[in-house]
Amino acid sequence: MTDQIRSILNDHGRLSVPVGELTLASNLYRAGLTSHASVNIMLALEAEFDVEFPDRMLRRSVFESIEAISEAIQELRAAD
């Protein structure tokens, strides 16, 4: 799953750091993720994993690292 997330970050994140250099816990906002780009990341994740982030999950901390994103997607899949 983290490979797919990395690929989405690479395509839509507009990060100032190469995605390959990010660890699972690296802070994506420190790597240059903006609010605008984060919306594109959310859209791409919803399409890729066939999930919908409910409004309570649409906040900064849920998308702050690869690990956090991966946990959020697992939570949504488990609830399905």
């Binding site: 906002y29 240059g32 903006t34 609010s35 919306v39 982030f53 409004d55 649409l58 906040r59 900064r60």
Partner: protein
């Protein structure tokens, strides 16, 4: 009943506007009433007010003098950022107490030449220096920059940090120098005295807010700004509707038995004012309730709340222009004349700042983007 500060603001409003000067008489009276510490918690020596209290205060002052109301709003926004997000730092704790004790006025330095109005991007960065950090910021506007005691400034966290990786830092008087780079001869809101400045500062690391500015912005600076700006605009609209109401009543008394034609226009602006007042109060109350509830900050960080608060700014900034314009149509030439007691020129010019102060186009674009992922039940 008007408070002494509101009376002082009203007495000087026309002169402040004409000369584009700082409303110093109003501020002195506000300090006497300890209002600059209105949002400082009582345990730090402040008045311990709520966001709803601040909203009512900004509406009251905005009704007397929009520039005075807006200065009060902008100051309280800075205080709210420190109270909500700074108390983890000992220096900021003592500073918050000092605001209440010494009635310090805090200005805001967020905009930057080359960035424009995007609150969430900075070019300037904290540069490591022998005594903490050095910071140089070229700001296209700093409201009451020359009159403020201290400043709250945004900058990138470090020279190699991304544009959105920002911190907020308190600049104490004496640690920065301001060189004025432009003038402030505007259509309205003239008394806010907001020219451009180039700021050169030494930053004490104890005065850096301990959490990222991204959270300060989404949880406090943006929502509290929109609520308190809208409150000040509500004050402007209220002042205009009161004049139009008096005008129509006087017309009616001259000819009892017929409803003056302008009365139906008055009924329209009256209804719009009521809608505006309800949305300001409701958003202030929602903010207060969420912030004080367990996990409330999480709620304030959601896109759903951001969209709602942005909508308050969009609608209130349009309503204030529509309402004052409607009142001008009701009062006619009496409203158009500067030396008439029904004169509405100042209110009309002040109202036009509302859609521009953070351009509505930018806010609509932000909402459009957020709505792509939002699923809020309507």
């Amino acid at each position: 009943m008007s408070t002494p500060a509101a009376i002082m603001a009203a007495q000087n409003a026309d002169d402040v506007d004409r000369q584009a000067r700082f409303p110093s008489e109003f501020l002195a009276e506000a300090k006497r009433a300890k209002l600059l510490g209105a949002y400082v918690p009582t345990r730090f020596g402040g008045l311990g007010g709520s966001i709803s209290d601040l909203s009512a205060m900004c509406a009251e002052f905005g009704e007397s003098c929009a520039a005075s109301g807006m200065i009060m709003a902008m100051h309280q926004i800075q205080v709210a950022c420190l109270v909500h997000h700074g108390l983890g730092a000992p220096e900021i704790c003592s500073y918050v107490a000092e605001i209440a004790e010494r009635q310090l006025l805090i200005g805001s330095v967020t905009s930057e030449v080359g960035i424009g109005g995007d609150l969430r991007s900075s070019l300037c960065a904290l540069e490591p220096a022998p005594m903490g950090y050095a910071l140089v910021k070229d700001a296209p506007t700093i409201s009451y920059g020359a009159q403020a005691d201290d400043l709250l400034v945004t900058a990138r966290r470090a020279p190699d940090a991304a544009a959105a990786d920002q911190v907020a830092v308190v600049m104490r008087n004496g640690t920065y120098a301001l060189e004025q780079t432009s003038s402030w001869d505007t259509v309205g809101m003239r008394g806010t005295c907001s020219p451009g400045f180039r700021m050169v500062a030494q930053v004490d690391s104890g005065y850096i807010l301990p959490i990222p500015f991204a959270d300060v912005a989404s949880q406090t600076m943006v929502p509290v700004s929109h609520i308190l700006w809208a409150s000040t605009w509500l004050g402007i609209a209220t002042a205009a509707v009161k004049r139009a109401h008096t005008f129509v009543r006087e017309q009616a008394r001259k000819n009892p038995g017929t409803v003056p034609p302008a009365a139906s226009h008055l009924a329209e602006v009256w209804s719009e004012l009521q809608t505006m007042r309800h949305s300001v109060r409701q958003t202030a109350a929602e903010y207060e309730t969420s912030r004080c509830s367990p996990g409330g900050l999480q709620h304030l960080s959601t896109l759903a709340f951001s969209v709602r608060v942005n909508n308050l700014k969009l609608t209130a900034s349009r309503q204030v222009v529509d309402i004052v314009n409607g009142c001008m149509m009701i009062c006619g030439l009496a409203g158009y004349k500067n030396d008439s007691r029904f004169g509405l020129g100042r209110q009309l010019r002040d109202a036009y700042s509302a859609p521009l102060m953070v351009a509505n186009d930018r806010i609509v674009a932000a909402n459009a983007s957020m709505l792509l992922v939002l699923k809020e039940e309507l």
